[in-house]
């Protein structure tokens, strides 16, 4: 199954010292800052199941930056989204090579 990719700030996802009670694989509220929506939709990038376009997607996201920098991202198996019966709308991206 393919993946969806979302650009994040990885440091927000490290378990914070103030929430030691969080269980393994649970995430703290600050990560929601990386999941802001627009018009009730969350924009993500589609990555093929063999991840063959992962570098291209990463390069595309990096190309939108003003400076050379690290780039953090999260990958989510699209199967999990399908299981939740969440609507997926595929459309052209606004990347330089789109």
């Amino acid at each position: 199954m393919p993946f969806v990719l979302r650009k994040i700030r990885k440091a927000k996802w490290y378990k914070h010292e103030n929430v030691p009670w969080l269980k393994v694989d649970e995430l703290q509220a600050d990560v929601l800052g990386d999941l802001y929506t627009e018009n009730n939709a969350l924009s993500v990038w589609l990555v093929t199941n063999d991840k063959s376009n992962l570098q291209r997607v990463a390069a595309s996201l990096a190309a939108n930056c003003e400076h050379l920098s690290n780039l953090d991202y999260a990958l989510l198996n699209v199967e999990l989204i399908a299981d939740l019966n969440i609507k997926i709308v595929q459309k052209g991206g606004d990347s330089a090579d789109g």
Binding site: L42, A58, E66, H67
Partner: protein
Amino acid sequence: MSTATVEMDLALHSFTRTDPEAFIPANIGEKSSWTKPSQEDEPSENATTQHDRPRELGEKLKALFNVDRQQAFEDGMESEFSRGLIALIKHYGNSALVELTGILRNERVSEEALSEALRWIGRMNHPPSYEGRRWAIQHSLFHPSARVRDGAALGVAFLDDTRAIPDLKQAIRVEAIRELREDMEQVLAQLEST
């Protein structure tokens, strides 16, 4: 290239940072602790004493960090915060870095802003403040906040200075968060290949 519009469950497959080959230091060619695990001493020139530091500098820095408490930072993108911080360091030099060190010790300041500051003082091009910036970044590898330590690791990567290797190795040895430790190891590999 295509995008999909979804709502996300938080059961992640992974979260990742791009590899060192994609992370090119911006300042190639520029040379110039809380519990104090760093092996190097804090810069101690006269300009860094409390008495000699410009009175308005502390207020300007504090205002910068307070205003941006809720600002959302984005990797690779400038902000009013980054531009303001760089301008203050270029204007006040090491005095600004000594004030910044005090702010880094302040638990009430946004960790996100502190982390962002360390990235930018690592990537900015200003040879007169280079050693002070290097000291502040390396010292912050041992900050109590993982988020700040992450910013320090990125600052070290931007500086691309092999003199950071001993502190970085020490930080890796004591880092409790596996993902952050792996990121630090990535930076170490970058420095060792320099």
